[in-house]
């Protein structure tokens, strides 16, 4: 009897641990999204980001014909989704949207730098910035074609 009780309590503890673990995982799924200030926070630094890009002589030629408001809204969607927020990116794939742009590593990095500057401007901690950049960095593969 005692044995069975110990077993049951062990199993119960196991379930408790498991459920608290999954609860933790769910909580931390959108941790980055929350750290970026949710959709409002993201949209705020994305607006600065787009403004900085349009001023950046290294890459602004590529955005001459771009509807910048739409660009900002798509980037907000994308960053929101990537950071675990409740959004769905509705734009074209990275490979498709960049395929004729002859993007080099230097262009890609310039964009990343502008994003860092934009986030710095809005006092997003460096460790949080890096976590978002970590999600974006692998996009070098579909984006950089030159």
């Amino acid at each position: 009897m005692n044995n069975i009780l110990t077993h049951i309590s062990k199993i119960a503890i196991g379930f408790f641990l498991l459920s608290s673990l999954t609860a933790h995982a769910q909580n931390s799924n959108d941790a980055l999204y929350q750290s970026l200030g949710g959709k409002t926070g993201i949209s705020t630094f994305v607006n600065s980001f787009v403004a900085i890009v349009l001023e950046d002589a290294r890459i602004n030629k590529a955005f001459k014909e771009t509807d910048t408001e739409r660009l900002a809204s798509l980037l907000t969607e994308q960053f929101c989704e990537l950071s675990g927020g409740p959004c769905k990116y509705s734009g074209r794939s990275m490979a498709e949207s960049h395929k004729d742009m002859q993007v080099t590593n230097a262009h890609f990095n310039a964009l990343a730098e502008d994003l860092q500057i934009a986030m710095e401007k809005h006092d997003i901690p460096s460790s949080v910035q890096n976590r978002l950049i970590a999600k974006l960095a692998p996009m070098q593969r579909p984006i950089v074609t030159k």
């Binding site: 590593n105 230097a106 460096s126 460790s127 890096n130 976590r131 950049i133 970590a134 692998p138």
Partner: protein, 301 residues
């Protein structure tokens, strides 16, 4: 008809290839400074791109794979009784190949070694083999490079009274040698960390300052070197390094090197690295653990 069409096509093709080549050549002439700040590392003690003590798999400078970068550096380490000055130049080509030239001067300040002066030249070559430390954030694959350093010890000054002018008189088997290494560097942006591990095959005593091989051992041995850096922001990193050393000489119970450092990158043209380094006791003639400040300045593009 078919043939002439083919010829035209061929001509067009060769023109476009040639035109592309000239525009590519023009692009190659101008440094693009396209890498992200700090991702070329700083200049390590032997002139290679890396941390302070150890080479990293990163290629020096800010040129991407479409361009090149170059820099010059000056480094000084002052311990209680010795000082080591290194200056040199390095180029990174297409973010793939790194060439470096460095000149070291080791001097003593405590009698009877107060006139001691040992000079060494180092030519370094590094080639990136695989991976990308920055982009591959979705995998554990690090950036991997192999390298070699050819070192030529130019002799000992200041011990003429004792008749000692060459490291071989201290027990070294040779006054020149080659180090071979493989480095793996990973930037973990999720954690804001940079990790490096380097495995070096070497015979060098005190990096070569005291020659190569010795009375106790005269064969290549693997030495592990590690660096950990925390990226405080995109212009500032703090970290620690460890470098294992061989013990080949009877007159030098050589110790491993350690340091803690802060590296500041105010722009892509300048970096300043300050560290506190522990080099251990150097030669049996002075049993004091040598510790002190390390300061390094790099300028380039």
């Amino acid at each position: 008809m078919q043939i002439s069409k083919k010829i035209v096509n061929l001509a067009l093709l060769s023109c476009s290839a040639a035109c592309m080549q000239t525009s590519l050549a023009q692009d190659m002439l101008k440094p693009d400074m396209g890498k992200l700040t700090a991702t070329g590392g700083v200049s390590q003690l032997e002139g290679a791109g890396g941390g302070g003590l150890t080479p990293w798999a990163l290629i020096t400078g800010y040129g991407t794979r479409d361009s090149y970068g170059a820099n010059a550096h000056y480094t000084q380490v002052n311990t209680q009784d010795y000082s080591l000055k290194t200056y040199g130049v390095a180029v990174g080509i297409a973010d793939r190949v790194e060439l470096s030239l460095a000149s070291q001067e080791f001097t003593g300040s405590l009698a009877p070694l107060n006139a001691l002066n040992i000079k060494q030249d180092i030519f370094g070559l590094k080639v990136k083999l695989a991976g990308d430390a920055v982009y591959e954030q979705d995998s554990w694959m690090p950036q991997i490079a192999v390298g070699a350093m050819y070192k030529r010890n130019k002799g000992i000054g200041g011990l003429g009274a004792l008749g000692v002018t060459n490291v071989k008189q201290l027990g070294a088997k040779d006054d020149s040698g080659v180090d071979y290494y493989v480095s793996a560097t990973k930037i973990l942006l999720e954690q804001s960390l940079l990790l490096n591990g380097t495995l070096r095959m070497t015979k060098a005593n005190q990096m070569g300052i005291l020659g190569f091989g010795g009375d106790k051992k005269d064969r290549y041995q693997p030495m592990l070197e590690t660096s950990v850096a925390y990226l405080l922001n995109r212009k500032l990193a703090v970290g620690a390094e460890y470098r294992m050393k061989p013990r080949n000489l009877g007159v030098d119970n050589e110790k491993d090197y350690y340091d803690v450092f802060v590296a500041w990158f105010p722009s892509k043209n300048v970096s300043v690295t300050a560290a506190y380094a522990t080099l251990g006791d150097i030669t049996i003639f002075n049993p004091k653990n040598q510790r002190g400040w390390y300061l390094s300045l790099q300028a380039g593009f």
